[in-house]
Symmetry: C2
DNA sequence: TAAGAAACCTGACATAAATCATGTTTTCCA
DNA sequence: TGGAAAACATGATTTATGTCAGGTTTCTTA
């Protein structure tokens, strides 16, 4: 397995691609490759991060636990994404926990490597900035959706999001399989409500399920549902 | 009135402070000073921005209108803040509208001035990045609050936010006076629910009102309410 | 300063969604 | 491979919040 950043394909998808050969070499030398099992914790709410994590394989959820035990998933990070950036850049402790949704491969990159590159390479900083601007826009959209859309609309939207971002397999099932509970935590609702609405969607012929796997049957109608008919 | 960026005090509060004298001079020469009346539109959802706006005086709401006519306020931008950055940096059209909450003074800075500086001055880019990282954290927190806290908790929190960010006058009234409708749009609820809860808070001795002006009487208890007792 | 328009307020009612309770199916692993 | 645990499912009930409807007060401006 190739662990040199210079040759790592996932780099193409994140801001590291704006680094010079030299910088990349430095990052590669200082990074630590790790494998994780489903459920493993990458970092927890309140941690002071000593670096960022580049996702090579698998998916991690970024979430925040509330007093009453519910946790809200704010983002799903997948191959090519870098997590923990925000915290490292702002030099604050994280407000989110990162947990592996399935088996993962990640590279830990110490913050110095990142900050050094930022001080020296405007193109790299700018690239990170662009990514963050994009994330911020998405976050704003989520805020609006949370307050203006019904649970049913948000669940419909979540399935479309999953299809667009993680794709489907040869049989048409979503590549990323979330438990009903995780999905509920993404859209911010109770697990039972989530289950109920999925059942409804199955009855209406919008979705099919085979065990945990879910496939979108009628994307057009699902999209209409997400938008409120 | 002083309109040279080099001498503008609001600059101290935003990322422009990381600019060199030269860059600042260039920005100052290319900027356009504007005054706005309450209710004036700075830009609207979907607009392609040709630059950013630096707030010298007054407050602007950044909000998004939904199909059913409700609009969700995502951020209140005040003196020293720069709005429209996200859109300019990511080179996308805005997802938000910006409207003056009261009489305002703003400076429009063309995007080229900003982007030029970013390509040349890593310190400036980094400063912008830090601001954006902070905004992103706040946005994540809002998402979590929206899904995990009750309307009453969110309203209590909003008042504390208003006090911390805009301060109080000599009589203890909040400097920034929001209509009940605007406040409802900040916390994502119906205007009537917002009014009802404010009345409740008044009865419980947490708040006082004199006309539109609102003062926090018992901040400790208000904070406890925000956190769910 | 009078009148019309906003903004504010409150009650009654409707409803989406949470919660509770209980049962079934699937998954896991000893 | 059998038994426990986790995930899924669904009905009954409660609750928070939205909606509608009718007021009053406060602002605005002609």
């Amino acid at each position: 397995m190739e662990t040199r950043c210079e040759n790592c394909i996932v780099r193409q998808f994140n801001s590291l691609r704006a680094m010079s050969k030299e910088e990349l070499k430095h990052v590669s030398d200082s990074k630590i490759y790790k494998t994780l099992k489903k459920g493993d914790v990458i970092f927890e709410e309140g941690d002071k991060l000593k670096g960022v994590y580049c996702v090579r394989e698998g998916v991690s959820k970024l979430s925040k636990l509330s007093a009453n035990g519910k946790d809200q998933i704010v983002k799903l990070a997948t191959q090519g994404e870098v997590i923990g950036q925000r915290s490292v850049i702002a030099d604050e402790s994280t407000n989110l926990s990162a947990i592996a949704m399935n088996d993962m491969e990640i590279c830990f990159v110490p913050k110095d490597s990142i900050l050094d590159a930022m001080h020296k390479n405007p193109a790299f900083t700018l690239e990170v900035l662009r990514h963050m601007a994009h994330d911020l826009k998405e976050a704003d959209d989520v805020i609006v959706n949370m307050s203006q859309k019904s649970v049913k609309q948000r669940i419909a939207e979540a399935f479309i999001y999953l299809k667009n971002n993680f794709g489907v397999d040869h049989k048409g099932f979503l590549n990323l399989t979330l438990s009903r509970e995780d999905l509920a935590n993404v859209v911010g609702t109770a697990t039972e409500s989530c289950i109920r609405i999925i059942s409804e969607f199955k009855k209406e012929g919008l979705l099919v399920a085979s065990g945990k796997r879910i496939g979108i049957v009628n994307e057009k109608k699902l999209l209409e549902t997400a938008q409120g008919f």
